[in-house]
Every structure is written in structure tokens, then in C-alpha cells.
Symmetry: C2
Subunit: 371 residues, 2 copies
């Protein structure tokens, strides 16, 4: 295999969706995949099967690759520091990635920056929780995702599972939010920053169900504040690649930072079909320190709806049904087997009329999910 | 490797550009490539190196693939008939492909259909040419492309090279055309047909230089006539996949068919970034008999400019220059080494103002071609 331009650690759908823009730009990806037929390994020729927690597996895949980036945030930071010391540029680097890996570190750092956050405190004991007060949201500081490792507690009784996890916990104020927003930004090592239009993210059971771009009826001043906040966080934390800043819009019209993710993000999938440059292309451009592409939307409305594993077992057979029913909706399948609730694909509709766009995207996703 | 959904014969840029929509739709391509590092072989994991003129090489790659399609029109029809007899669906089939392979057969068939063509006649001798009259265009009936195998002859002296080629020749009227148009259509085996907006194709030295979609100032009646002509030819010739009908618009406002191509075509590359469904996605959908996607343009204007091998040797190094200069232009590189005049990539700009779109696309292409 020829020398790769970059190594990507992790073979999920985010790595898979980096490959089309890599093909267009003539960039060669080498992949570290969890197995021989995981989502991205199916379509990236130059892949190695290995374990991202094993330093020698990481060394094997980055050999010859000047830049390393990620499908997820789970590579141990100590391994990344070794790779850096051996001359590989990790983007984002472990010093930035820390704030996507550790929620306590993230809250402390954002607090120091003056970024608006829910009231929060580390919780080491039942007494700490009592002192924080109820209701509260308890989160494991590391390893949670898609609603896992998160508990809403209204009394000590609700906290049993959280304390039984025997992991460091953070308590946060239960925010009375109107909706969830997401501000995505791409940043390169040279410091170029470009943010995307702010979107509304609609969650079901802690999992992103659909995204509307831009967020409907969002006060332009609040949208500008969200973008400038995301740009400032990316710059202050020295993030490279895509940073997603998940936000609460409160009932009284304020923004609060909920989570940070340092990789292409589910709330940016709409950009593949809806923006001048997709988040996946801009992630590649950013981590390789290439100039960034335009982030404007290409039409008034884009709606992305996730396809979660449901009643439909055979996505390939169902594909022709959805293509016939919605010939203008873009269908993205991840090459994954269907299990209940698993993210196995997404669909995106674009257009001038939000009701129409929403209804087409939901219809297409429902056909792929439940038939 | 898992069972492929289809086999693609030929590893050039057309096969390469089929892979991104195949990834999105979850379709697995197996490729027959001319060499281990040709354009498409770089990015299609499941590829076999072989010769498309050798029946056993074809048999090796189509093994297990229900459908076979093509990057070019050069597979011998007798081999395709064998593959068909062995249970593989060739799309397009040899009975249709004949009319893209043999210009004399094409002219005869289009004449029988009443499709408007330049006056033409087979030419077996100097006397035949004299009888046809001057000026004329002499073409080899097979194997010409990008201006090769085509001679404008104003006297017997101009015809020396054509006759020296010792190949069957066709004489055609030298058309006094205003410009060249192209009408693309996708057709599936079930008979579903969708045509794209008619584009203007600007050639330099017989090679496509740039494409404007839609063709500026085209009489809507003529545009409708071109689309319906392309749809009718696709149906009558039983084409499956993409058919490109290259047309002359004459000075007096008529259409004449110039050439047919039965595969994704250079005049349709704009559709990747400019249409609801790209020609590459619709080619895959068509040959697999999946429902076709919408073919409308997504904005008023799209301009595609080819990147032909020029003064720039190192396209990868020049990439950052063009991305910085034109952040909203989409850059497509084919992974090919640069030689003079070779198609090594293309760029597409889209927008509301034709002059602006043209100037951005030309600027980007010039930076990649000549620095």
C-alpha cells in the first residue's frame, strides 16, 4: 500500500463517512478497525485490525502516517502522548481530547473560560450529593455516551445505580431547557476556524433522533453567540478537526454548554447533503492543516433523521422501498447489522419548506426503521 | 470478501466516482482494474487486476456478482454474451452497447428511429468519400474518443491519415453548430427513466473543457425536445444505466445527435455537487434496478471544469493552494499521475450568478492545471 496521508483510529460510521471526501480530494486513509468487517473497514482498502487501547496496535497503523485522527474519543491519552513523542501529529491532541474524555475536567476548564455551564460539582459521596441538592443529573465523568452513564436523580434512592458504578461522578443542575442545540466548528492547527449554522437536535431516550438545520426560530443573536462560543472553545482548548458543542437553550433564552465532542458528530450529518462542505470533508481538511471549506447551508432547510435498529431486519431489501417512496431523500447506510436501537444509518432531506422537508425525512427513516 | 452487489469492469475515474454513492447506499462493488494502483483500484477494496479483453479475467471478477456494469465501452460484445449466458446481467447489455461501440450501427439505428442526425454514410473507398462530398468529418466506426479517430476533411488530401488507419470509416456532414449540448438520462431494466437538465459542453481540441448546467439561454422547447429524445433513445435501444446523448445545436435552432455514451459521462460530473442525485448514484441505482433518484439541479447554475494535465506536476501540493483560493468550489482528484492533457480531476462551482460560478470554477481549475 502507498504511504497514507493520515491514520484514522476506529472503524465506525464516522470513519466510514470520511472516505467519500477523502476519495474526492485524493487523500489516502489508513484505518485501525476493531474487526475485519466493521463499518469503515468494508470500504477503506488500507486497514489494519487491532485494538485502540494497545499501544503497539496504534504504532502499527500510524507507521508512515504524518497525522492521526479518530472515529471516537476512547484512545488512552498516555498512548497518544507516546505517539506524539514519536513524531506523529495527533489531531485533536491529548491535551484537547481530555476535555471530551473527562466531564469534570471539561466543566472546570469551561468554567475558567467563563463559558456558560449548568451549575456542577464533583460528587464523591452521598453527602456530596445531598449538599449539591435535588433534583440533579449524575454523570460518570468518563465513558458515557448516548444516555449511558447519565442518571436523573430526585432523591438519594435514584442514585443507587450511579454510586454502584463505582466510577467518579459529576453532579449537574437539571436544566429546564426549551430545546437542545448544537454548534459545530472546524479548526485547523494553523488556527483557521469555521463554524456551521446552529442546529436543533431532538433526542429520544438520550439518543439523537433528528436534527433540523438551521434551528427553527432561533434568535439570530443567540445563534451568533452559540457560533462564537463554539469557535472560542475550539481555539482556547486547541481543538483540531471538528468540535461539536452541544447546548441547552433555556426557557428564559440563555445558552448552557451540555457536552463537547471532538470528532465529526451526529448533529453534523446533515452537512453531507445540506452544506457547501460536509463536516467529514472539513474534518479531513482541518486535521491535515488544509484550508477549510465553506460551511454555509445550501438551501433554507435540511433535516437529518437517524435510522435506529427497529422492526426492519434486512436494510438492503428495504432500501428499494425507501428509494421508491422518497426519490429526493438521501439515504446513508452504515453497513452494520441491525440490533434494537443501534445507529445503522441516517437519511437527509433538503428544501425550501420545513414541514415538507421534515415529513419526507421522517417518512424515509420510518420506512427503514419499521417498514 | 463478502459477496458484491455488482461488478464494475474498468478502474478509471468513472468507476472511482461510483464508490462514494455505493458507500452511502451500502452497495458493495467488485472491480476489474487494469493495474494495482489505477484510479478506482486505490479506493475499492474488492478489486482484481486483469484484462477486460480476456474472458477468463471477466469471469473471475463477475463470479458471485449478479450484475455487471462498466467504466468504459471497450469490453468485447462476444464476451458479454458469454457472461449473459452464464447468468450475469450485463447493464447495459451487448445489444445496447453495440450502439456506443460502433458509430455506423448507431447512425443506422438512430436513422431508423427518426432521431435527427447529421447526414452520414459508410465510406469504404476514396470514391465513396468523393460521392459523399466535402467538407466532411471522417470517423473510425470503432474505438475513437476525445477527438481521436476523427478527421475533418476538406479534400482527398486531408483523408490520408484516416484511410491509412485501415479501419472502417463513416463520413458525416460537417455540422455548422452553434454549440454542443448533452442530454443525460438514467434508465433501469424495469423501464424507469429520468433525464437530467440539458447542459452545454464546451470542447477544446475535441476534449470536454467545461460544462454549464443548465445550458444558458436554451429555448425551453428545445431543452424539452433534447430530454425527450434522450429518453426515447434510452428506451428504444434498451439502455440500462446512464446514457449520454451528445448533441449539436445548429445555427438555425435544430438538434442533431453527435455521439452516444452508455456510462456516466464527463458532461454529467456537475451532478455530483449540483443535482439532487448524481449521475454516479443513479447509474448504480439503474443497473441494480433500484428506484431512481431525483435529477433536478439544486441551484440555478453549476459549472464543471476539467483539470487536464498541465504545468502542475504535484497535484497534492497544489491542492492546498486551490482550497485556500476557492473555499466553496468542490475539488475532485482522480489519483492519476500528471501527463500533458490527461484528465486528472475536475472542479465544480454552484450558485445563483453564472458569471461568478464560471469564474470561480475556471480559477480553481487553472490553479490545479497551470499553477
Amino acid at each position: 500500500m502507498p504511504t497514507p496521508d493520515l491514520a484514522v483510529i476506529g472503524g465506525g460510521q464516522l470513519a466510514r463517512m470520511m472516505q467519500p471526501p477523502a476519495i474526492a480530494l485524493g487523500l489516502r486513509i489508513r484505518l485501525l478497525a476493531e474487526g475485519p468487517d466493521v463499518s469503515a473497514a468494508q470500504i477503506v482498502p488500507d486497514h489494519v485490525v487491532g485494538d485502540h487501547t494497545v499501544l503497539d496496535d496504534l504504532r502499527g497503523v500510524v507507521d508512515g502516517a504524518p497525522v492521526v485522527t479518530f472515529d471516537h474519543e476512547h484512545v488512552p491519552p498516555e498512548h497518544l502522548r507516546v505517539l506524539e513523542s514519536e513524531g506523529h501529529a495527533c489531531r485533536p491532541g491529548p491535551h484537547a481530547l481530555l476535555y471530551a474524555q473527562d466531564k469534570a475536567a471539561m466543566r472546570e476548564r469551561l468554567g475558567a473560560l467563563g463559558a456558560p455551564c449548568p451549575r456542577n460539582a464533583p460528587v464523591a459521596s452521598r453527602d456530596d450529593l445531598e449538599a449539591f441538592g435535588f433534583p440533579a443529573v449524575l454523570k460518570t465523568t468518563r465513558g458515557g455516551y448516548d444516555g449511558k452513564g447519565v442518571w436523573v436523580v430526585r432523591s438519594q434512592d435514584d442514585a443507587d445505580e450511579a454510586f454502584a458504578s463505582d466510577r467518579p461522578l459529576l453532579a449537574e443542575e437539571l436544566v429546564d431547557f426549551r430545546r437542545e442545540l448544537s454548534a459545530l466548528v472546524a479548526r485547523s492547527p494553523s488556527g483557521e476556524v469555521r463554524s456551521y449554522p446552529v442546529v436543533e437536535s431532538r433526542q429520544v431516550g438520550g439518543v439523537c433522533a433528528e436534527v433540523v438545520a438551521p434551528a427553527p426560530d432561533l434568535d439570530p443573536a443567540l445563534a451568533a453567540e452559540a457560533r462564537s462560543l463554539a469557535e472560542r472553545i475550539a481555539t482556547e482548548l486547541d481543538v483540531t478537526g471538528i468540535l461539536a458543542v452541544e447546548l441547552f437553550e433555556t426557557g428564559d433564552g440563555r445558552l448552557l454548554v451540555n457536552e463537547l465532542a471532538m470528532r465529526p458528530h451526529n448533529t453534523g450529518h446533515w452537512s453531507i447533503d445540506g452544506a457547501v462542505t460536509s463536516q467529514f470533508e472539513n474534518h479531513l481538511r482541518a486535521v491535515l492543516d488544509l484550508p477549510l471549506g465553506g460551511t454555509d447551508a445550501r438551501q433554507p432547510w435540511s433535516v437529518m433523521v437517524n435510522v435506529l435498529g427497529g422492526a426492519v431486519d434486512d436494510l438492503e431489501a428495504q432500501r428499494s422501498v425507501v428509494l421508491a417512496a422518497e426519490p429526493d431523500v438521501k439515504v446513508h447506510l452504515y453497513g452494520k447489522s441491525v440490533t434494537a436501537g443501534r445507529k445503522v444509518g441516517h437519511v437527509t432531506a433538503v428544501g425550501d419548506d420545513l414541514d415538507d422537508v421534515l415529513s419526507r425525512a421522517r417518512h424515509a427513516a420510518a420506512l427503514l426503521t419499521d417498514g
